[in-house]
């Protein structure tokens, strides 16, 4: 598998607090990597650095072998890194179609003032939401008026509009019911089939064991363990997360 994104020595300080320290990580095409850790382990910080909303104090990020600078969300989007945030990042005043295509609209030429190709986008929205079994009363309803599950579906559906190279999912199953959780996990597998790189942050170790090819454990800003699917059990994972048995991290890269 080709290296999609490789991170070396990534470090981030918030004031005097070291949130992330010398983290090395490689993500591949068509591979699901789970990022786990206790609160304050640095998971969210790592996502923010990859999504371009924060800048690293030290270290290097390479996308397909090229060293890149993450200046802003725009540069991450331009590099093909798509993030599904825990707060969903939807515009409540806009409908499902506009949210799905936010920032990646299909539009006609400049002489029409970049008129939106609404019909094409609606058809695509129906296809995507259908494949996620998200049911909406109307595509024209502002998403602020939809249920939590519908909103989650739209936020995740956004990752299917373009073909991003890497999809970061921040706690994608945190607020979901049983059926919808299964749908999200199915979506993650579908992203993998499309040769996307996927990184999932989760508190839910069942999620991790179900979908992840590799599990990376962070604790207090440092990478403490890395496991490959099938070569660990829940106790190894919990031990690494809590630091209960340091030496048991047999999978450290």
């Amino acid at each position: 598998m080709a290296d999609l994104v490789s991170i070396t020595g990534l470090t981030k300080y918030y004031g005097g607090v070291r949130a992330l320290s010398q983290v090395d990580l490689t993500l591949h095409q068509g591979e699901v990597v789970a990022l786990v850790g206790d609160n304050g382990a640095g998971k969210s910080t790592l996502v923010k650095l990859l999504a371009g909303t924060e800048r690293a104090d030290a270290g290097e990020i390479k996308v397909e072998g090229q060293s890149v600078k993450m200046e802003s969300s725009r540069s991450a989007v331009a590099l093909g890194i798509h993030t599904v945030y825990q707060d969903l990042s939807l515009c409540d005043n806009l409908d499902a179609v506009r949210n799905l295509f936010l920032g990646q609209e299909q539009y006609s030429g400049i002489w029409t003032g970049r008129r939106l190709r609404r019909a094409d986008m609606e058809a695509e929205t129906q296809r995507i939401l259908g494949s996620l079994s998200v049911k909406l009363r109307s595509l024209n309803t502002p998403v602020g008026r939809l249920s939590g599950g519908q909103r989650q579906g739209i936020a995740i559906g956004r990752a299917l509009v373009t073909r991003p190279k890497l999809v970061l999912l921040d706690e994608p199953t945190a607020a979901l019911g049983v059926t919808q959780r299964a749908e999200v996990l199915a979506l993650i597998r579908r992203l993998k089939e499309q040769q996307c790189g996927v990184m999932v942050i989760s508190h839910d170790l069942r999620d991790v064991q179900e979908v992840a090819d590799r599990v990376v454990v962070l604790r207090l800003g440092e990478k403490v363990a890395e496991f490959t699917a099938g070569q660990y059990n829940s106790q190894d994972l919990v031990g690494a997360i809590t630091g209960a048995h340091e030496t048991a991290s047999g999978g450290v890269a």
Partner: protein, 403 residues
Amino acid sequence: MSAHEPGLMAPSVEASVARRPLGTRVSDAMSGGFRVVPVVISLIVIWLIFYSQNPAYLSPENLSNLSLQIVTTAMLALGVVFVLIVGEIDLSGAALGAVCATMAASVAVNMGQSIWVALAVGILAGMAIAGLEALIIIFGVPSLITTLGGMTAMMGLLLVVLPEEFSISIGGNPYEQIAATQIPASTSIMLAIAASVIYALGRWSSQRKLVSEVSMLRRVVLPSVLVAVVVIGVVTVVSSSSGLALPVAILILMLVISSYFLTQTRYGSHLFAVGGNRQAAARAGIPVGRMIIFSFLILGACAAMAGIVDASRLLMVSPSSGTGSLMLDAIAAAVVGGTSLFGGRGTAWAALLGALVIGSINNGVELLGLSTEVQNFATAGVLIFAVAVDVVLTRGRLLPLRL
């Protein structure tokens, strides 16, 4: 693995669903295209009240008069709508318009340039100054303060751009013709018919391929007929006494172009996104700062047009240009028409409807010879009622949660 095959999926839009509670349905409808309904009802109530007191209120002469009276407010309100949509506010537009009108008057009268050069100078100056304000806002100074300061600065700038005698009379100059020109009734009606046809075609072309459970009759034919009746009817009545005033035609053109950009284009979508959830817009790669500048550039152009039309009607510019209630009327008009003060919701037509509501009150009070306090109380009542409606729509329920 996947529980479903995509091909076998039920369509994501359900055709008909069980009846929902009335409150939810009303609130859903109001969040969509029916937002104008309470505004139109308010307008009809106001008209009926004044009409019952004096039938001359709804005479073609008075309606034609009213149309000219609201033009300045509506033009400025249109600019305010753009700024409100991205979640900012502007207090400097009226004063900015006066500065632009004065610059245009200097170019046209004192320098003897053609009216087109004067218009270009005025509008470009408006866009430049408003753009500067936008830069300060992006830097981080709240728009309320930036434009409050901007308003004061514009009042000073007005004294700078005025000549030593502190006024420019534009009588006899082509500048005067902007407000004085009347488009003959026959031409106006032809234009109205043409506009209705273009609207119907546009509606058809945008709707014909869309996925929807609503029939084409309801999506295309009925709106087109409604628009045609309203547009042709209004133009016929307003122009029947002495033709359609040129500023009214300019206003309609501005509204149509703005409405197209807000509802049909990528720019419009991004403006609403920035007003709805700025962080989400930024994360999606939308250049938030650029969209704020864009909205202020439009405000600058609208303010300049409003100032120029105002000066043309008053036949002069002076230090008192742009003062008075114009700015607050324009903000009130935008909000009364259905634009949210919280950002992310509004239409170009809100500017027209709101200006009509406020202008109708002012006109009626004047016609009946009532005192100014009645006008003040009525305008205040309508404004607060309109914002209360907006608050209810924003939180999606009638009463606040108990804290």
